[in-house]
């Protein structure tokens, strides 16, 4: 029954996408603010040779839409995606979850206009993902169906077809998704972390929103949100796999080139404020669930690459200091999960584990010691070189398929305003010295930036009270 275990892990992984919100424009009741254009770091059209015989072509259309085509001549599939710079961070608190709700609603069809079914009939896998700063629609098909599928996907995202009946039904589906995300102490401890790291943000309700906001969203809200954000200057189209770049670019131009350029809504994100440094909750669990989270730089910020290496040195992978201490040396648990989730200008690094309740303090002490050890420079140049090589190997393994490479380049363009090849990425990592890492650790792994949360077993009589409370309020 491995599938059920996998579902548990997927729940945990999916909760990553609900981490790290802060923002918003709180000063008005307006759903849609305004924004000025930020220039790219390279020209409006260029191509780059990549590793493994792949190549990449970038073009910005006159209306502001950006397109990336990744030719992967040895692939057997074609992947297409249309992404919008909007997500959980772009929503007022009253409408938390509207980006995600809209993503669901755009898949609704009406007789005579069934683009989702068109892709499905060609065997395509079609879906979407809403994050804090990006909402992305994508499909995977056999290469001969690429053109028709991209045409259908453009219809899905640009021509909403939903009505009030669809809204009522989909609201229940979204509420099911919300309930699913709260059905495990592992996701509860992660969502607690987000709430405490970004306490003033309405998006502590997570990308999906909360029951009140989900129930509040109207048909008019959804159409207004779509009209404001689903515009060419806010769009990135990525095509990857067994496709030819030039015809793909021509296709994108024909599908989107005539869209009117419109002003992009402006958003400013507030600096996060950590609410408390320590929090312990008693809930009906058997084991203790502990998380130490640290506020770290975002993808567009300095020290992002240093943070990637700190992650490898400290928590991710079997050779990390925390894995060695907690799993190998002391045998406290197998269930230890590192998280490094970054937005454009901030992020969270965290280590979460389950342990016997009496081992919680021991685990916490080890985490504190290892963080201090990094700041004190208790690692060698050799350790750093192993971390760099490990990270490079991971990237090579991860970015082998069109889907992963497409998402990697999408985020690179969206957050760093540039496309990076793996080689360029590696060069940035290689340039980092041990001294750089120590300085970055001292800047970011500070007590002020750190929060620890422990969920511990409640005394047995409280169990039913808490379950009743959960059933009545949906909250622990």
């Amino acid at each position: 029954m491995n599938i059920l275990k996998k579902i548990t892990i997927l729940l945990l992984i999916s909760s990553i996408f609900f981490v790290g919100c802060r923002s918003l424009e709180k000063e008005t009741d307006s759903l849609i603010p305004h924004r000025t254009k930020v220039p790219l770091l390279r020209p409006n059209e260029y191509s780059i040779g990549m590793e493994n015989g792949n190549s990449i072509l970038f073009k910005e259309l006159p209306n502001g839409l950006k397109v990336i085509v990744i030719e992967m001549p040895f692939s057997t599939i074609a992947y297409g995606m249309i992404s919008f710079k909007v997500g959980g961070r772009y929503e007022p608190e009253s409408h938390a979850g509207i980006s995600h709700f809209l993503e669901h609603m755009l898949f609704k069809e009406k007789e005579g206009s069934e683009p989702v079914s068109e892709i499905r009939r060609m065997g395509g896998n079609v879906n979407a993902l809403t994050d804090y700063e990006l909402t992305t629609y994508y499909f995977t098909v056999l290469p001969e169906h690429f053109e028709e599928s991209m045409t259908a996907l453009s219809n899905i995202v640009l021509e909403p077809k939903f009505d009030s009946k669809d809204l009522a039904n989909e609201r229940e589906v979204v509420l099911e998704e919300l309930a699913r995300g709260k059905n495990d102490p592992r996701t509860l401890v992660l969502s607690s972390l987000v709430k405490e790291v970004f306490p003033s943000s309405p998006l502590t309700n997570l990308v999906i929103g909360n029951e009140q906001s989900i129930r509040r969203i109207t048909l008019a809200d959804l159409y207004a949100f779509h009209k404001a954000y689903y515009i060419p200057g806010n769009m990135i189209v990525v095509c990857a796999g067994a496709i030819d770049a030039k015809p793909a670019i021509r296709l994108v131009e024909s599908l989107f080139g005539n869209l009117m350029p419109l002003p992009i809504p402006d958003i400013s994100f507030e600096d996060p404020e950590i609410a408390v440094s320590n929090l312990t909750k008693e809930i009906p669990v058997n084991q203790a669930f502990h998380i130490t989270g640290i506020l770290v730089p975002g993808k567009a910020e300095e020290d992002y690459y240093e943070m990637m290496l700190l992650d490898v040195l400290l928590g991710s992978g079997i050779n990390s200091r925390l894995h060695k201490r907690i799993v190998i040396d002391e045998g406290l648990t197998e269930e230890i999960y590192p998280y490094h989730y970054s937005l454009s200008d901030t992020g969270i690094w965290a280590i979460m584990l389950s342990v016997e309740p009496e081992d919680t303090e021991r685990a916490r002490k080890i985490i504190d010691e290892e963080i201090k050890g990094i700041k004190d420079g208790l690692f060698s140049d050799y350790d750093l070189s192993i971390a760099k090589q490990a990270l490079k190997s991971r990237l090579l393994i991860t970015l082998d398929r069109p889907m992963e490479l497409a998402h990697f380049e999408l985020e690179s363009l969206a957050f760093r305003r540039d496309i990076l090849t793996l080689q360029e990425h590696t060069e940035k990592l290689e340039a980092i010295s041990r001294h750089d890492i120590i300085l970055a650790a001292r800047r970011h792994l500070t007590a002020d930036n750190t929060i620890t949360i422990s969920l511990k077993p409640a005394p047995v009589p409280n169990r039913w009270f808490l379950i009743l409370k959960l059933l009545l309020t949906g909250e622990l």
Partner: protein, 424 residues
């Protein structure tokens, strides 16, 4: 006709890019090897399997076989734990050892240049473990903690209930497993290791960017010197044909209930797996299928619902799993049963079948981009004494299923009364 021919030609061309036939070799010491060369990647997926798994645990061993998985990477006669963790990290951290009801497996993905390093490391871990007492006490503690932590996972509750109901002979309560683990001696672990980790009980499956002859030579050079083992338990323990309950429910959910509706597939032939795949795709495919449309799009009862089958241990099972808020339990059960009963009254249409086939072909093409998935499939097929098929062969099999075949399957295996398991 011409269009159909063109599609067949395109399909053959597309899938021929993804690899040729799996090539099977047997080394002199009995190790079975299956290789699959693809041109779509620079990676190599490696799956090393040892037939056995928890179905062979005796009463006093229930829960114990997993300890071996935890002990193996904790140092060998020539490598310390630190050397092993460093090597795994350098290779990209895509490395795991696991225990199933059917086998132990070591799985890894590496860049093609690192294949030799990976195989050297694997041989060392699998055949020269140090088995220290200190480490045994550590892994016992961790294994017990894992069992206890699973109490805090609704889906682990469902997994337990599923195994207790469908495979009672192989199942033991958590407390029994914890007691067995506590009582395990090093000598027991060493005995299990020597009994199962033998060349004749072993399969090496490799897929991806490899040169077949060079890879066979490499495997022979590294593993060919291993001596025959003492013996391995060859006779598969028989599962008693215990009656299935109609309904079983227990607590464990927090905000949602987990609902499983399933049956055993008594007498089903593994070679007909493509029928199960196709049936699953008729009921649940990319944002569509009968279950998805009825349960989610029409009634808003679930966020996701999926079909599953298990062909690992006899008797095989087929089931539908979904989660929903607790107020919906009855509606989910009733609607799910209606949909699967409707399949008998209203068989899949040609259009539904065609869509399901296209969906599966794309899904297969996607899965063949991941070398480890291919290695796993080939290795498990060989372990089950089945013939690993190529992507093209699997595609043709799916394409060849007629509506009548699917109806026959449904009429033969779908029971009048389904077993319903609920984690409330």
């Amino acid at each position: 006709m011409i269009k159909k021919l063109l599609i067949i030609i395109i399909t053959i061309f597309t899938f021929s890019q993804a690899g040729a036939e799996p090539v099977i070799k047997v080394l002199k010491n009995g190790i079975r090897v299956v290789l699959y060369e693809t041109r779509t990647t620079n990676l190599v997926g490696v799956s090393i399997l040892f037939s056995g798994g928890t179905r062979f645990e005796k009463k006093e061993e229930k829960g114990v076989f997993r300890l071996l998985e935890l002990m193996l990477p904790r140092g060998t006669e020539t490598r310390t734990e630190e050397m092993i963790t460093e090597q795994i990290s350098l290779l990209g951290d895509s490395f795991s050892i696991s225990t199933t009801g059917e086998f132990w497996s070591l799985e890894a993905t590496v860049v093609n240049d690192n294949l030799k390093d990976l195989l050297d490391l694997s041989k060392d871990i699998l055949f020269d473990p140090a088995f220290s007492e200190v480490n045994l006490s550590k892994v016992k503690k961790m294994a017990i903690q894992t069992i206890k932590a699973s109490e805090d996972s609704p889906w682990s509750h469902m997994s337990e209930l599923y195994r207790a109901v469908f495979y009672p002979q192989f199942y033991a309560e958590k407390d029994t497993r914890i007691t067995n683990i506590r009582n395990t001696k090093k000598s027991t672990i060493m005995r299990i290791h020597s009994e199962y980790f033998t060349p004749e009980n072993m399969i090496i499956a490799i897929a991806g960017d490899i040169d077949q002859q060079g890879t066979i030579d490499l495997i022979d050079q590294i593993f060919g010197t291993l001596h025959h083992g003492v013996s391995s338990r060859q006779t598969e323990p028989k599962q008693q044909d215990t009656p299935l309950p109609l309904y079983r429910a227990q607590g464990g959910g927090i905000t949602q209930a987990g609902i499983l509706i399933g049956t055993r597939l008594k007498g089903f032939n593994r070679r007909d797996e493509h029928l199960l795949m196709l049936l699953g795709a008729v009921l649940d495919n990319s944002l569509g299928g009968r279950l998805y449309e009825e349960m989610r799009e029409e009634k808003g009862l679930v966020y996701s619902i999926s079909t599953h089958y298990s062909l690992s241990v006899k008797p095989y099972t087929w089931f539908i799993f979904s989660t929903s808020r607790k107020k919906n339990i009855k509606s989910v059960i009733d609607t799910t049963e209606d949909v699967i009963k409707e399949l008998k009254r209203k068989p899949a249409t040609d259009a539904e079948l065609e869509l399901a086939k296209e969906y599966l072909k794309t899904s297969l093409a996607i899965s063949y981009l991941t070398p480890l998935t291919v290695a796993n499939y080939n290795g498990v097929q060989l372990l089950r004494d089945e013939v690993p098929e190529s992507l093209l062969e699997r595609t043709i099999e799916i394409d060849s299923v007629s509506p009548q075949e699917l109806d026959l399957f449904i009429n033969k295996y779908f029971p009048k009364q389904w077993t319903k398991l609920v984690i409330r």
